[in-house]
Symmetry: C2
Subunit: 323 residues, 2 copies
């Protein structure tokens, strides 16, 4: 593993891909290897700026990331893109995450694009994303973009993995769309109105003003940063310099007050708990206790609720130990 | 509690609302009361057809449910609508779920509309939805529609709560939209192309054909039912009779082979496990073990990964007990 670790640290793309495949695997031997490998890499992690980017389908995320990513690699940055797609968990493979969506960026030596595998649970997806970020950071990527599709729970999970959460919006949209925006908007450090070109330019300006109003009514996420609203056109490649300026100023302001470090520490702590909850259920299931059958039957026969059954199961297991 | 339970069973709306408020509460005394109440109601649950309905913002879910719901109440059914909106978990209240979206249905004595509260975790949302369904079933509602907003994890959670999962789509949509559809489409028992009217009628027909093609390439969810594709217009109130026919035939076919019962039993079993994972983390946190601080520091100082920390914490707690 120390050999692969060295190759990853030198930026070897094949080793990076291999390592990510390893952390994706559910085979116990692969998982052991992955843990050894991550232990080797740990001290080299943490050096990238981690950006979360979300937006509903059709808002133009791929084109945005392609344009933004190319601008960053032209500036000398090494950019990695991880696409999180929880909706594909049944099909067993990422539907949207293929490189064909970002052809130019995929061919760029300074960039690395990888769909996050779909793994059954949100906790699993979060783990893989977190560990893939570690590998990419150890490999010297200094900007990591975690792209997420959807308007709900996965955004909350991704926000808890990144330094800065960016929401991409289309100009316009009905009442329902406006409703959606508010829930996710509270997570956002930066809102970008995309497709601000041609016929949409005016609508984009109105949407930006609406967003600003909505943001003013919300509690800022912290004392030093209030969410900003910007406009961009991936088509005209406009707005991207300003976006990068705002992102860098976010990083500087957050780093100055140690807020970035605090945010990451909090994220790591909550990661432990999400792992605990994943693992403990696995372990209890493995014990194949008779009690489980009894409780399942009681729930099915409408004698007790699932919650009451869970309480009883846990007290059977833990009572003597931690009360 | 047995008094409230009786009132609920007789369909008293105020008691229903009060009971749902009780299960939503995080106060320990309320939670205890809610558990007692649910125990009283358990034997009266299970008699409704539970429908999940999802679709991205703008597809016309509210209008669809209003038209569909009014048709059902006119047929003599008692219809309850629960709106699940995980994106509002920070704002602490449902943004979209208000009754103003479905004015006519909200005024209908045969109907009951309630937004599911946002509660921090997907597990929490699932619990409330499940328990609210129990109350509504005990109160005699025979059709429950669980409406969900989004294209990801929350749909998977809702699919695991209902008998039949319905996906509402707009005619047309770009490549990305097509991509989204596939992931969620594998969950669907029925796909409805909405807004099949006026200028969109032709586009709706094409979208329906596309969906049918996509569905043919997928593994059916079970042996007796292959997902169907239908068209509807809430505006013209067309397509709804056929939709109801398909839903009833789904119920009959699934009931005949005991598949509906099996599906519900599976759902109940998985509910126990999701409760276990929620509760166990709460309990461990409450113990305030010194080990937790030590492990958190080790993770923050990049000495171990969150996964390794979780392993160590769990083995500390469980080792002597269940290995």
């Amino acid at each position: 593993m120390s050999d692969i670790a060295d190759k990853i640290k030198s930026g070897n793309r094949r080793s990076i891909a291999k390592a990510i495949t390893l952390i994706e695997s559910s085979r116990p031997d692969h998982q052991q290897q992955a843990e050894l490998l991550l232990k080797e890499l740990l001290s080299n992690t943490g050096n990238a700026l981690r950006l979360g980017l979300t937006g509903i389908p059709g808002v133009g995320k791929s084109t945005f990331i392609e344009t933004f990513g190319k601008m960053l690699t032209a500036k000398g940055h090494r950019v990695a893109v991880l696409a999180v797609d929880p909706s594909s968990q049944i099909s067993g493979g990422s539907i949207l995450g293929d490189k064909t969506r970002m052809e130019e960026l995929a061919r760029d030596n300074m960039a690395f694009i990888r769909p996050t595998p779909s793994n059954g649970t949100l906790g699993g997806i979060a783990r893989y994303t977190r560990e893939a970020m570690m590998i990419l950071e150890a490999a010297g990527f200094d900007i990591i973009i975690v792209e997420t599709v959807g308007v709900g729970q996965s955004e909350v999970a991704v926000e808890n993995l990144v330094d800065m959460f960016i929401l991409l919006l289309a100009p316009g949209g009905g009442d329902e769309l406006q409703g959606i925006k508010r829930g996710i908007m509270e997570l956002a450090d930066l809102v970008i109105i995309n497709k601000a070109d041609g016929d949409f330019e005016n609508a984009a300006r109105i949407a930006a003003a609406d967003c600003n109003n909505a943001l003013h009514l919300m509690q800022p996420k912290n004392d030093v940063w209030t969410a900003k609203v910007l406009m961009a056109s991936a088509l005209k490649k406009s707005g991207f310099d300003e976006i990068w300026q705002v992102i860098t100023s976010f990083r500087n302001i957050m780093s100055d007050g140690n807020l970035l470090e605090e945010r990451r520490n909090q994220q790591m702590k909550s990661a432990i708990w999400s792992e605990v909850s994943e693992l403990i259920v696995d372990q209890i299931k493995k014990q194949k206790l008779k009690k489980i059958d009894v409780l399942e039957k009681a729930v099915i026969n409408k004698q007790i609720t699932p919650l009451a059954a869970a309480r009883e199961l846990i007290s059977t297991i833990l009572n003597n130990k931690i009360t």
